[in-house]
Symmetry: C2
């Protein structure tokens, strides 16, 4: 085989394990991006994405880039120079929003929290009310810390102030409820490689009618051709005007992945993510480990585990990869070297993933001289 | 099977047919985007892309978006408000450059030619010398018309004027010589779905040291986070700083596709493209058809065929798709309804493609009452 890559169980912050059926869809021989069969598949993908996002937004589609390109699309189209944008930053991914809004000439009002803390809702509301706010942006499930934020009170304050709301749903979509219309979210983006268990490469995205109207009323054109909402609408909308050549194979994979999600059913899928996360939490104590995030604020698909002081996590993580054949994630930003990030996402959210990763973590901890009771951990997980 | 798509021979303007080996690579189970095995593959892809682009540029990598995202990356990083940019437009794809440079606040000096005509080199040189030019941008092989431009005299004039040169190599790379260093090109981008015969989804791209220096000296930051050269360099360069989650599967496919291209050898591959194009040209006359572009200016991998007046090309193209199982392309812009675009690209550049498409075209012409000698056409192609 030309590709010499190992077989690994992917339990890091993404990509998550891709089921064989989705890989088979990915490898389907291609048709053209304007072929009637492909146009039908585009319609199906849009319909199913609306079901996942719980929205009736017309502009709901997969952007032809990875999850982060969805952030670029939203901000490049929604922000104009001088716009006041309130951004909640409590991890790496909120920091990116701030960076981009500044590049676009927006005025950033940052409401920050320590890595691992949740956003202070009152501080967010105060910032929104503190001036003529154009946009409020924050992360639903912070992949760098494992914190899940309730968007409803923030979105309500934004709506009262006449501001639009943008939500980063990269890690949450398909693993926890995301209800754009009920919550009043105007712009949301996600990635395919987390709880959808489709390879990375597309950014499912949805914009409300209010967001589209805001874009139509811009005084300047967005500084991107590739991510221009008006141009994309010409292709994904009814007219099918050629814009760029769609990533056909990745859309095959997404179509298959979405079918799988909806076959399982959203409620059952969310419950499965909660149950395996709870099993992981139970198994951590016998290993002498704790979660970084308080129980009420944890996002089920991504658990941040605090490591013992002075533990050589890089070597241990390499052992877990080389000997146990599992990928887990290290810490980002201020958490680097201090935590591991365990993803139980999509196809990876299974009890066998939990027991395998607990066993691997326990083994490397014991090898480094830390007390860790592996049999007790896996037994606790299974109860 | 979940995906109900027909089996078609792809002889349009792209995507081109993807070989089974590349589809198999695409469907390889994933590792993480920071896994050592994947980082090795990234190195291999960069090395092989440098061979294809004939460059030693350090910043040579596949952008995580389709070919058009490569144009966005180049212009978003290279153009600042007020920059004077000379753009050659003789088809749809030059027009896009103009659109984006205007969005970025650049001053566009357009040198245009009719669709199907080649760029007027003297006019380009005159425009370059007509003011303090910052950047000169044009298309190598115009996919909308089938014209191949010699970049050397234009690049020389640009260098003499101290301007950078950007070349759209979406359709040419892997099918005709592209020699960035010898030609003096500072920014080039391509797509995976044309002569590389990898699915659409990545933009192979290369920036010269001069281009990188220009970007380092910007007075404002580029208005994109996803396509920021400095941030991308942190991941693709030696530091491997996480930026976005790389599209792992597509990079598997690209790695496989590049191996295939280099196994064949660039010279043999270019010769194959020239030979099958010549066979197509020979076969057109017995069908009563002509090429739009004069022989000396044609690009071998994309041939624009002028249709008889009043011919219902949409219906005929549908018959070719439904009954002959071949995709060919219609005209874009001012050529809509007047031409067909036949792509003989990458894995599709084979004599069997030529005889199959000549037979299909001849059949639908005859059905519509036009004289077309199919046996003579295929015989002429084979001589």
């Amino acid at each position: 085989m030309v590709l010499d890559v190992p077989e690994l169980l992917l339990l890091g912050p993404g990509p998550s394990p891709v089921p064989d059926r989705t890989l088979a869809a990915l490898g389907t021989p291609l048709v053209g991006h304007l072929d009637p069969a492909f146009l039908e598949l585009m319609d199906e993908v849009q319909t199913n994405l609306r079901s996942l996002f719980c929205t009736e937004n017309t502009f709901t589609l997969p952007v032809s880039g990875t999850g982060s390109s969805g952030m670029d699309l939203c901000l490049v189209n929604l922000v104009e120079p001088g716009d006041r944008v309130v951004i909640g930053t409590h991890g790496v991914f909120g920091g990116r929003m701030k960076d981009l809004v500044q590049r676009l000439g927006g005025e950033v009002v940052e409401v920050s929290a320590e890595f691992g803390q949740s956003l202070d809702v009152e501080a967010m509301v105060g910032a929104i009310q503190g001036g003529p706010t154009s946009l409020v942006a924050f992360v639903h499930a912070e992949t760098s810390t494992g914190v899940l934020t309730d968007p409803v009170p923030i979105a309500k304050a934004a709506a009262d102030a006449g501001a639009l709301v943008m939500l980063d749903c990269v890690t949450s979509l398909g693993g926890a409820p995301v209800e754009l219309d009920r919550w009043g979210i105007d712009a949301a983006f996600s990635g395919t490689q987390k709880c959808l268990s489709v390879p990375p490469g597309l950014a499912p995205l949805s914009l409300s009618a209010r967001a589209i109207e805001r874009i139509s009323n811009r005084t300047s054109r967005p500084p991107s051709w590739y991510l221009d909402v008006g141009l994309l609408n010409g292709y994904w909308g009814g007219d099918r005007v050629y814009h760029h050549t769609a990533p056909v194979s990745m859309i095959y994979a997404l179509a298959s992945g979405l079918q799988r999600v909806l076959e399982e059913g959203l409620e059952l899928r969310f419950a499965r993510h909660r149950e395996v996360a709870a099993a992981l939490y139970r198994g951590l104590e016998p290993l002498g480990l704790e979660c970084l995030v308080p129980a009420a604020e944890r996002t089920p698909m991504l658990t941040t585990v605090v490591l013992p002081e002075g533990f050589d996590e890089v070597t241990a993580r390499r052992t877990i990869r080389d000997q146990h054949r599992i990928e887990i994630g290290g810490g980002l930003g201020s958490l680097k070297g201090r935590v591991w990030r365990i993803g139980l996402m999509g196809h990876g959210a299974q009890m066998t993933s939990v027991t395998r990763v607990l066993t691997a973590m326990g083994d490397v901890l014991r090898e480094a001289g830390h007390p860790a009771d592996v049999p007790a951990a896996t037994a606790a997980a299974r109860t």
